[in-house]
């Protein structure tokens, strides 16, 4: 029995300690996606909370034969779409980029050069379409497969692959426009 399955079964039994452990493990994942899709921290917190409550309500519906991460992200993505539909005014790309960059600046402990490149990437991501950005983050940060991302976003696997390639091309273009250059020394020999 996997660790997730055991944890979920304990949550289903109403064990508060297990629920807290579950939240500690997965709330960051859900919140990050919400923040990516909504671009606003307060909104992301509200939607992430709503998503996690729905997760506990429907925990018994999770197929224990499959990984839980795509299932969690699917619920969060659906809640984000609903929130975006309800939102009369979408946040400006600049506001979102500032939010994401400031989050990174707040919590990153990496070297200054890497922090700068990371910030540039966050800014560039903030200028992309929501679905492109979400797809890119799910693939490169959450390490979901094409199929899993397709299930989360409700798109065919081929569409996800196309989106990911376009996202890279657009990111590269924006980063080049901002004067960011490649540093082969940062790349490991593979």
């Amino acid at each position: 029995m996997s660790e997730d399955v055991q944890l979920v079964q304990q949550c289903l039994s109403g064990d508060e300690l297990s629920m807290r452990a579950f939240l500690s493990k997965y709330q960051g994942l859900v919140f990050s996606l919400c923040l990516r899709m909504l671009g606003h921290r307060e909104d992301a917190e509200d939607v992430a909370q709503d998503s996690l409550v729905r997760v506990f309500r429907n925990l018994e519906k999770w197929d224990q034969q499959r990984p839980i991460k795509p299932w969690l992200l699917t619920i969060a993505a659906n809640r984000c779409r609903t929130a975006l539909e309800k939102r009369s005014k979408l946040p400006s790309q600049n506001d979102m980029a500032i939010d994401l960059a400031s989050e990174r600046r707040e919590h990153s402990k990496n070297a200054q050069e890497q922090l700068d490149i990371g910030e540039e990437l966050e800014l560039a991501l903030g200028e992309l379409r929501d679905d492109y950005r979400t797809c890119f983050v799910m693939y490169h940060q959450e390490e979901l497969s094409y199929q899993e991302i397709g299930e989360v976003l409700g798109c065919p696997q081929g569409t996800i692959k196309t989106w990911l390639h376009r996202t890279r091309a657009q990111l590269a273009k924006r980063l080049q426009d901002r004067g960011v250059v490649a540093d082969p020394s940062m790349l490991e020999a593979t």
Binding site: S13, E16, R20, Q49, H107, V181
Partner: protein, 303 residues
Amino acid sequence: MNCQEIREELNGALDNQRSITSQTNDPRHAEVLLHVESCSDCRLHYEEHLLIATVLAAWAPQRTAVDLTDRVIDVVRREGLVSSNESAVTEAFTGTKMDNADLQEGRLESDADVVVRSGPDETLPQDRKIWPTIVTVALVLMAVAIVFREQPGTIAVNDHLQEQVVPEQPAELFQQPQDQVADISHLVADARSAWQGITSRVSHQASGFSVFVPDLKHELGIPDAPNPAVDSSDASDDVVPQKSSEPSTVEKAFEFLFKDGDLSGTLTIQVTVVCSNTPIRVNATLSGYGSQRKSASTTKWFI
């Protein structure tokens, strides 16, 4: 590789979280590098590849710090999805766990707004009731199986016995050569005693039954001879083997069959008794042949 294949190779490397640089030893990567040196379009794609690989290497996966635990727990507790604090504390100290069903029933009692979980909670009592039902049905099926396993045997025995019963009709007594009629008639005259002697000496299985031999002298036109009287009226209840009053008649029967003194033939005795209803019916066959192929048989003696 052509330009399309080069771009697919570049994207494929990023898909696998890899990069194509001069430091790589993969021969395909070397081919890509050789191609981009001479192709300006592919060179642009390769520069994009390096840039994305660089930012991805610097973009370490990092979760945005947030703590929604208390907020979420408050909501799910209000919805009754969390067991009481007392149970959690008790569990933490004792290591015991409450039954899931009890916890879920508690949720329903504490909050009527739980819609999603109401379905499974309602099914729990049915799950509990179904097992006694299954056990009961299984026991009934086992009992029926045992009964029917015995019944076919009983029926088969009856059928077998029924097949052995012959209708009440005059017996075909002897099929003997004409020159032996006198001897056979003599044998039949004391057939009752002879039969009883045979069954008592030869067949232990026949010892549990009373064998009634009808008086066939009338049908065969045989003069009266002294016979042990057997009243057919008491046939229904009499299950005590009758003792032969003249055991010597058995010897006469064998002398008839094997009077040459050579026991090279066979002697078969079949007895079937049906006790289903009164009166008791007897079907008996006595047959055999001696060294000279002389045979004698009596069949279908019945009451």
